[in-house]
Amino acid sequence: MKLVTAVVKPHRVDEIKDALQRFGIQGLTISDVQGHGRQRGHTEVYRGAEYRIDTLPKSRIEVLVEDQDAADVVDVIVRTARTGKIGDGKVWVVPVETVVRVRTGERGPDAL
């Protein structure tokens, strides 16, 4: 099994979620995160005092998938997340040792 993690622009999240559901993904986790890549931050001004905000709000989507689906899921996310502008985000895949469904105790691919 693989864990696909994507950090994307928050306003793309709904479309990515819909695309993953159409692809047949059962479950996913979405969280609000802060960070930056090459995009860096922005400047805010309060009564003339300037504040450099280094991190930007992003959304993190995590999906557990079977090995053979990982490449397709990455592809779905990249296609839906892309706006072509700086700050579109990143997607990465890591191997997962085991997965347990808490309610039933099922393990491995059955638990997905």
Binding site: V45, Y46, R47, G48, A49, E50, Y51
Partner: protein, 436 residues
């Protein structure tokens, strides 16, 4: 008794009362989350402390019979002694003295509250309460007597302070400067980001201040007449112009029209028109507003250059705005009131209040610091004053974790058949304190 005037003054008193919670929100939104409630409370508590002191002896010291020299009232009206519902100001066409006393009480309440913004995030709440108790008694009540009581020495000098440019704004601005020099800078001043936690609250507060200020300024006519109308109109005009002045300055200097700038510009305009409003025409009000908006916008940056930590710019807005309004009335006053002589009187009024207020405020702050300790502990300051002094936090936004029931809290709703969660030894919820 004049019913219309009485009704107007009573309503104005209620409007001015609203300014103090408005100020609390104006300041409260500008601090960081961890001390937001403390900031609200530092302003709000004045409604309690000063109200009681006013009845006990404040009214008497400010508006009682002069003890001589125009410096202070006597103790003849302690506990509002001798003032009955039918006691009127200025003969049978006057208003009840009680209405006047209530109206003036609201001024006494907001003036020390104004200072709280300069000391945000770093003083002990009990020390603050002691400080404003002493400050209104030894600074505000005497200065109000100087400026507004017919026997007061600045009143007799013909200093124009229609609604409190000297007694309220210059007084509070200088008092704040003296106190913050004693208290010192916030930990991390000029290093850590100290962004406002809620600009919508700032905007709400500024709106309430603007609304209440009609009572503050127009009500100071103490009659529902043309002077009140002039003052009300000029209040609106100067405030609008000041907001535009601040925004224009910011756009040129910093590249954006900020929300905090709009709110601050409005307050600067309100401050500046306060002493002068009834003596100038509408064009004078526009000019006063524009000057106050731009100059105050520039002045708030002084703290970074001069290195004093006026957290929320009480000096930049109230002292500078108050001085602008107080001096410009000497230049812009119409109907033959203005001119060099008047400008000299205005300067004398402004600078005598500054000198007295600075000296006494500094001594009082030193006294409070020596006797009970003005400054919060470093740990409390870093963790936030809300938990330290108020046992509360402003917001519960936490999505993870939760709250453990404390002593006295209602028992959780649990059915008898539900198994108790097993926390295991050493993992029991602490029933004394919740670690957030």
């Amino acid at each position: 008794m004049n019913g219309a005037d009485t009704a107007f003054v009573l309503i104005s008193a209620a409007l001015v009362m609203l300014m103090t919670p408005g100020l609390a929100f104006f300041y409260g939104g500008m601090v960081r989350v961890k001390s937001a409630l403390n900031m609200l409370m530092m302003s709000f508590v004045s409604l309690g402390i000063v109200t009681v002191l006013w009845v006990l002896y404040g009214y008497s010291l400010a508006f009682g019979d002069d003890i001589g020299g125009g410096l202070l009232g006597d103790f003849g009206h302690v506990g509002l002694k001798g003032i009955r519902p039918e006691t009127l100001t200025g003969g049978k066409e006057g208003i009840p003295v009680l209405a006047f006393a209530l109206f003036q009480l609201m001024f006494a309440v907001i003036t020390p509250a104004l200072m709280s913004g300069a000391l945000a995030d770093r003083v002990r709440f009990s020390a603050w309460c002691l400080f404003i108790t002493l400050w209104v008694s030894l600074v505000y009540f005497p200065v109000a007597h100087w400026v507004w009581q017919a026997d007061g020495w600045l009143f007799k000098l013909k200093v124009i302070d229609f609604a409190g440019g000297t007694a309220v704004h210059i007084n509070a601005g200088v008092g704040a400067l003296a106190a913050l020099l004693v208290v010192g800078k916030r930990i991390g001043f000029r290093k850590d980001p100290m962004r406002p936690h809620s600009l919508p609250l700032v905007m709400l507060g500024a709106g309430l201040l603007w609304f209440g200020w009609f009572g503050f300024n127009a009500g100071s006519a103490l009659a529902a007449n043309g002077t009140a109308a002039t003052m009300a109109l000029n209040t609106q005009v100067a405030t609008g112009a000041a907001m535009l002045g601040w925004l224009a300055y910011e756009r040129v200097r910093h590249g954006a029209f900020t929300t905090l700038g709009a709110a601050s510009g409005a307050v600067a305009g309100l401050v500046a028109i306060t002493p002068s409003g009834a003596a100038v025409n509408a064009f004078g009000a526009i000019l006063i507003g524009l000057v106050a908006g731009t100059v105050c916008s520039w002045a708030v940056g002084l703290k970074f250059r001069l290195g004093y930590d006026d957290s929320l710019d009480v000096i930049g807005v109230h002292l500078v705005g108050g001085v602008i309004g107080t001096l410009l009335v000497g230049v812009l006053a119409v109907d033959g009131v203005g001119g060099a002589t008047q400008l000299g009187r205005q300067a004398a009024g402004a600078f005598s209040v500054m000198a007295y207020s600075f000296a006494v405020s500094w001594l009082l702050a030193k006294l409070v610091d020596r006797v009970v300790g003005f400054r919060a502990t470093e740990d409390d300051e870093i963790a936030g004053l809300d938990r330290a002094f108020h046992a509360e936090t402003a917001y519960d936004h936490s999505a993870v974790g939760g709250t453990t029931a404390l002593r006295g809290a209602p028992a959780p709703d649990r059915r008898p058949e539900d198994p108790l969660p097993d926390h295991g030894p050493g993992n029991q919820p602490d029933n004394k304190k919740v670690d957030a």
